[in-house]
Symmetry: C2
Subunit: 404 residues, 2 copies
């Protein structure tokens, strides 16, 4: 083995040379710039581990939207540097597209300093989004009318440090080290074009820890996201994908950082919690009976004539008869590092995709803002809106429909 290693691997020749210099050799090592031996995952049709599973990067739509939610996601919001123009945006997006295509397939980034960390794709998806300023710099006439900060809601306590942003990268995978490594490579690509404004790390249940297809429970213990268009359906396509100009095949993304008052929630017992949501905690079924996916009966009254699902219940307030008012949620839990044992720093990175934010998300949120018992324990502290451009083919790049 010893001899093999010293003769088979070309980099050892260079290393030997470097050893002559002792500690001083490190400088020389940095200067020489030897080709890195990049190893790739063994290709197999039947992955032995879920870490080998990949999601396609190229396609009509970007990945990370209709993709079954991975266990971990980090959202990065950036401010563009002042001197970055349309040509700069194009260069940035070509660079990011190239590394995104590599990393998601388990291959090292172009200038990957830790190529071995790229070998576990674990369904990695990398999704790019454009804020209002990004689109303005590319083409001032191309800004969709809804691509702007949301209207103010009375429940909002927004912090600028969790809000807005010119550019978004969503990095999601079933392995936290994969998210970490991919993020690092992408942040290096971005740093000459933009500065990081905020980072939001989210988690869901681990890959394989629960049966597939269960609705996520949030930190309140609620089944969260029961009513959600299913990828692959006509409804999903209509709700999510834009048909509008350069954004055709893309979508709109609302990210809201929602602080959840876990201590306040603790003071409410189970029936109180179920009333405020309009669903049972155990199965997520509507309070009017049935199973999780059954329709609530908003007309049902109890023996005294009072509605079983109260006027203030979240499930009633979130619902609309207007078929335009539907969104696709792909939320993550977050939990910051706590400062004290008694005040949580936790909640939800609420992420909702829809073709038109003004028509779909805003009226729902306005109704919830007016009345929703859950507002007592939830406070939006961050809010951003991004246009998510369509996908691209091999050889193309994400954003080309706007930037070319």
């Amino acid at each position: 083995m010893k001899n093999n290693e010293l003769t088979d691997q070309p980099r050892n020749l260079s290393r030997r040379g470097l050893l002559l210099g002792g500690a001083a050799g490190l400088g020389a090592a940095a200067a020489i710039g030897i080709d890195r031996a990049v190893s790739t995952s063994p290709s197999s049709t039947q992955p032995a581990t879920h870490g080998e599973q990949t999601e396609p990067f190229y396609g009509t739509h970007q990945a990370g939207i209709a993709t079954a939610p991975q266990a971990h996601a980090t959202f990065y919001g950036f401010d563009l540097l002042d001197d970055v123009d349309r040509e700069g945006l194009r260069r940035m997006m070509r660079l990011l597209t190239d590394d995104g295509a590599r990393l998601t397939q388990g291959r090292a980034a172009l200038a990957d300093s830790e190529p071995e960390l790229a070998e576990v794709p674990a369904r990695l998806t990398i999704t790019f989004g454009f804020g209002p300023e990004f689109v303005r710099r590319a083409d001032p006439s191309a800004v969709p009318p809804w691509l702007k900060p949301l209207p103010e809601f009375t429940i909002d306590r927004l912090q600028p440090s969790w809000s807005d942003g010119d550019f978004l990268i969503q990095v999601a995978a079933d392995d936290p080290l994969t998210v970490s490594h991919a993020s690092r490579m992408l942040l290096k690509d971005v740093r000459t074009f933009a500065s990081l404004r905020w980072t939001q790390k989210g988690f869901r249940r681990a890959h394989g820890s629960e049966k597939v297809g269960l609705t996520m429970r949030n930190l309140f213990g609620q089944l969260d996201g029961t009513v959600n268009p299913a990828p692959g359906t006509e409804e999903f396509d209509r709700v999510v994908w834009s048909q509008d100009g350069w954004l055709t095949g893309g979508t709109g993304l609302v990210i809201r950082r929602i602080d959840m008052d876990l201590e306040g929630w603790d003071e409410i017992d189970r029936p109180g919690r179920e009333q405020s949501v309009g669903r049972t905690m155990g199965t997520g079924a509507p309070l009017t009976g049935g199973a999780e996916l059954d329709e609530p009966d908003f007309e049902a009254v109890n023996e005294f004539g009072f509605p079983i699902i109260a006027d203030y219940a979240h499930v009633r307030r979130a619902r609309s008869d207007n078929p335009d008012e539907v969104i696709f949620r792909r939320a993550y839990n977050y939990e910051g590092e706590q400062d004290t044992a008694t005040a949580s720093n936790a909640g939800q990175v609420f992420a909702a995709f829809q073709a038109d934010v003004d028509k779909q998300f805003v009226p729902i949120q306005q109704r919830l803002d007016e009345l929703d018992m859950l507002n007592l324990w939830t406070t939006p502290v961050g809010s951003s809106v991004f246009a998510i451009p369509p996908g691209c083919s091999e050889g193309g790049y994400i954003g080309e429909t706007l930037l070319d």
Copy 2:
């Protein structure tokens, strides 16, 4: 279904009553205090998901030490409140033992407000540790000589907010939501006895994303922990388990928060990195050849007579001929939320178990402090030492050998 739900579940009767009160009913709900229906995982010998897997809570030793490292771990350091005496410590440890035994087996905590979140144990372990002040309050004569802050090292840049602490809880599982929920229940148990001093969240590769038994790669891309006693061996038992009085069957834990300068590391190319560690980046084999687990040949020289593994290489500096100077490492990566795209906030929660910190950990760290090329890119910013009491049997409690 509808009728079943309304008649089978006793809590619906109460809920109905509450509905009469509308919004005001929530206050009443909180006051009534209805028994919570706690569902438990289906028992099965062949878990369908890895979320159903459990680690035993009771035993000679606490779990979370010899346990194969889970994907996620959070370490909580606490300061005891001033008025907590020996009797208070005993009450706290009985409470925590009870909830630890429940949660690790996939059962809800005693006062669990979200019992459904407890249903995915995912190999949850909960491990308790005592700082110097904890043991002093229990019995001033029982403090092991090594249970004190480590000696100062020249490389240290310790921040009090990441250091010391009177009490430790390590919560580890293969599912991040499991860690989150269990932590919340345990923090509630602790809050009348201690205040939270620091929280350190760590991650490794996801459960099942890589083949079992691989050495972890850290954020530098290095295989980290190659030389580590294997649980179940005579060496492990000798290195880890104390034979000393109340601590017999327990151990000592050093936690060091080590900032890793990923930007500086980026400037070093692959041969330079390999020289500073003394191992190849790809396979983790010693630079003198072979495979990861082969012994380095510290005597080997190149054709010009220079040592192949340099004097400053980490692998050489960490090694000792003294059989006492061995530790068991169980480290996690950490990554805080970055403020800018160019400065990482990442590194390692270095956790090392050994029976005697002064005899085992300190001399190794002193040697690394004197000379270790890796010191250029790593900075300890936090440091704590805890005595980890032995395990207990059902009916007993963790800490009973000190507190009874």
